[in-house]
Symmetry: C2
């Protein structure tokens, strides 16, 4: 659990290694060659509901990036924006930046709540007969179809190059099979996943 630390680098990350939202943060730090210390949090053991954790993030969710002794940044995609600010991973052009953000909001609204939640139900809770799965599966495939349409014409999601929008969508998409999603029908998505894995610092997430 968190102790007061120096405001200097390395960054401290409070996260769960098998969570895609947390893996995004690791990918951005690795891609940017930023040093960090990783504090493993076990969500299933209630470690995001302790008073110490809620003091860092009142919303009780991982990941959290510690900025200094008293400043903690939650929300995976906001952490990506913070880490990548000023780098080649965060487009400098106003429209490209907004398009990257649009894909990151798409990820948190239309993709993660289906594909990541289905994976959580199947792989962490081990409930393959959960009544939520059919609807999550339908909506998850709709999100994948939107990605397939874009990637059939573009190599990456924004600015014509690899950015934090790709990191945000890579995290749960490359483990979509663990949520019961067969990517065989999405050749452009599969080719993009391979392009992502060829980028500096990008690695697969550990399976639960």
């Amino acid at each position: 659990m968190p102790h007061p630390i120096s405001p200097l680098l390395p960054h401290r990350v409070f996260g769960t290694s098998t969570s895609g939202n947390c893996h995004k943060v690791r990918l951005a730090l690795d891609a940017l060659d930023l040093p960090y210390r990783w504090h493993e949090i076990d969500v299933l053991k209630g470690e995001t509901r302790t008073p110490e954790f809620l003091a860092m993030n009142p919303n009780g969710e991982v990941p959290v990036l510690q900025i200094d002794d008293h400043t903690f940044l939650p929300e995976s995609n906001a952490i990506l924006c913070y880490l990548a600010d000023g780098s080649q991973l965060w487009p400098g052009d106003r429209l490209a930046r907004a398009q990257a953000l649009a894909w990151m909001f798409f990820e948190q609204y239309s993709h993660e709540p289906c594909i990541a939640v289905a994976r959580f139900i199947r792989k962490f809770l081990k409930r393959d007969d959960d009544p939520r799965l059919p609807e999550l599966t339908r909506r998850g495939h709709a999100a994948l179809a939107v990605m397939e349409q874009h990637l059939s014409r573009q190599r990456f999601f924004a600015a014509g190059r690899f950015s934090i929008a790709d990191i945000g969508l890579f995290a749960y998409t490359h483990r979509a099979d663990e949520g019961g999603f067969d990517l065989a029908g999405y050749p452009a998505v599969r080719a993009w996943l391979q392009r992502c894995l060829q980028q500096h610092g990008i690695s697969a997430m550990p399976s639960p």
Copy 2:
């Protein structure tokens, strides 16, 4: 339905006036004194599922901001970032900008899917006995409690002043009663709503 337009101002917005996600865009345009033309879209009549609409946003959701003849930006909070870029509504400091984004991702992940969806079920579908409402109500109150804790110590959500993070959270919070949420237990939220309404260009959303 959309026709080719000049890339010059005014912006064109495709939106639903009684949708909080769309009202956010109107608020940002009004707050920034930007001219715009509003194209009303009736979601319940299927107007977001037509080929013309899906050509603008393959994800089939309002709002959409038309940038030029061939460029359409979806996702309400990404549109706010685009419109406010370089203005006083979008913090220039790296950390403050990331904190504003963290609240905007919180809004789309933890707030809107409960408070807006409960409002949609009650006010648009008119199903007060919908079985999803108890869980949406529980999670919506959790989101309001997180906001209350922050606003009991801060006047606005980021950078110590009114920003697009406030616009993003204002939209559905000030109509939370229509989703069955009583704000009586959230005095700091109610005071913040009043502060928002005192800002230039900020107005209440029409009820359905």
